[in-house]
Symmetry: C2
Subunit: 137 residues, 2 copies
Amino acid sequence: MNKTEQIKKILLNNKIQPSLQRIKIYEFLLGNKTHPTADIIYNNINKELAIISKATVYNTLKLFVEKNIISEITIDNTESRYDYNTKFHGHFKCEKCNTLYDLDLKSDFLNSLNLNGFKINNSHLYIKGICKKCNSN
Amino acid sequence: MNKTEQIKKILLNNKIQPSLQRIKIYEFLLGNKTHPTADIIYNNINKELAIISKATVYNTLKLFVEKNIISEITIDNTESRYDYNTKFHGHFKCEKCNTLYDLDLKSDFLNSLNLNGFKINNSHLYIKGICKKCNSN
DNA sequence: TTATTATTTTAGATTAATTCTAAATTTTAA
DNA sequence: TTAAAATTTAGAATTAATCTAAAATAATAA
């Protein structure tokens, strides 16, 4: 089974019709794990051939977030970034070089929280500071 | 020492000139612990007498965040909220009633993170879901 | 097939939070 | 008092995201 077929299957499993545009966006996120913005996704997909509009990028990202096959990162208030990885993990943003790092978290990270009666849909840990690389320069 | 004097002292301690507008914003945040937006702050301060402009609200909030006497909450990507409490704690947003709850976290909450060489400026834990109240209705 | 209905995509307008600009005001220092 | 520095300001500009209503495409029924 090739990549496109695999993506189609994932989308269908999540009750999402696998249109060309949706496949392209999901494929781009799988191949670009640097937490791209809607604009970056739009520009890259259209680089060779214009096959998608801005509105569709936004519509599709929203749909994917709702269906929980990607997650939305709002560590800056300026624009959202998107992550193919929906497993709970943290993000560190270097305020010097703007790199967004993934942080592995222990599986019991949220266990100490007392949220009885609360239904958790998604969780984000955001840390800002200066990364190791920038610190040593 | 009255409240205004206390606020002046806090601002001066953090190398912030205590102008009338700055005092009013800080005073509002101390008295309104519901994580207000810039717009809410602006409207409330000007309710009786117009003493502050939108630009100053934004300038001042940015200054306060830089000086670390308040913190900025970006749990939605639509608008920032502000918190007088800079001690690390979590936030839970109910997606039904939009209430923003504070979450107490153990002091060692971030200890398991392996961030050697990284300088942490601020940390946020954001959780979205349905709150107890909405769940039981 | 053909017609009908539902879904998806789209260009461009709109919205709204935030930032910018450059001038006015206030404060501080000399 | 005067000059310099800091603060505030109105309104314009920016920009990510949403909205609108039409067009294109796909799915379904006859």
